[in-house]
């Protein structure tokens, strides 16, 4: 199954700044998914990122706040822009690994101060 390297593992950011999270996969994958896990909550899908096309965002998430890049089949970034304390969460990427399996990154714990 695929192995995902997600960076950074954690960060503390000032209000109003941005954080870019990277996910690198050790094999080529068609779709990558970005999730948010707010404190004490379950995971919520932010967007789906296909290589060569614009990301598809779920209800409640917009491109201006969560721009995503997908330059090739092994890499994607999620930027969380104009940070506020409400953005403090764990952000995870996910890919399909075949045989209906999915692998998740280890997550990025973001704290906004």
């Amino acid at each position: 199954s695929a192995v995902i390297s997600q960076k950074p593992s954690r960060d503390i950011c000032q209000r109003g700044t941005s954080l870019t999270i990277q996910c690198q996969v050790d094999s080529q994958v068609t779709m990558m998914f970005w999730y948010r896990q707010q404190p004490g909550q379950s995971l919520t899908l932010i967007a789906t990122a296909n290589q060569g096309s614009e990301a598809t965002y779920e209800s409640g998430f917009v491109i201006d706040k969560f721009p995503i890049s997908r330059p090739n089949l092994t890499f994607s970034t999620l930027t969380v822009s104009n940070l506020s304390p409400e953005d403090s969460s764990i952000y995870l990427c996910s890919v399909e690994t075949g045989n209906y399996g999915y692998t998740f990154g280890s997550g990025t714990r973001l704290t906004v101060v």
């Binding site: 997600q6 779709m31 998914f33 999730y35 909550q41 379950s42 995971l43 919520t44 899908l45 789906t48 779920e58 995870l92 996910s94 399909e96 209906y100 399996g101 999915y102 692998t103 998740f104 990154g105 280890s106 997550g107 714990r109």
Partner: protein, 114 residues
């Protein structure tokens, strides 16, 4: 509406005792069902999944789950828990019309006491 319900937010179990975590789903057909575990500071690890066939599914770390269509349930069990099983457990499903987009339950936090 599609949803996943994990009725138990928090469960405390003694080491060596059995564990059962409940999961119910709401969907017009049979979805693809998963159980994931998240240890503190870690990502999600797949325990097991069900798509079709035998309704009793064996997973890693001694876990199993049983799919019951009549009850729209997919409960997770382990006969004898170990201290290392303390973690948060998420039930999730996928549907063919939203492939790759997991719908997760709220999670059940499992605490294991000596």
């Amino acid at each position: 509406a599609q949803s996943v319900t994990q009725p138990d937010i928090h469960i405390t179990v003694s080491e060596g005792a059995s564990l059962e975590l409940r999961c119910n789903y709401s969907y017009g057909a049979t979805p693809y069902l998963f159980w994931y575990v998240q240890s503190p500071g870690q990502g999600l690890q797949l325990l097991l999944k069900y798509f079709s066939g035998d309704t009793l599914v064996q997973g890693i770390k001694g876990f199993e789950a049983e799919f019951k269509r009549s009850q729209s349930s997919f409960n997770l069990r382990k006969p004898s828990v170990h201290w290392s099983d303390a973690a948060e457990y998420f039930c999730a499903f996928l549907t063919t019309d939203s492939w790759g987009k997991f719908q997760f339950g709220a999670g059940t936090q499992v605490v294991v006491t000596p």
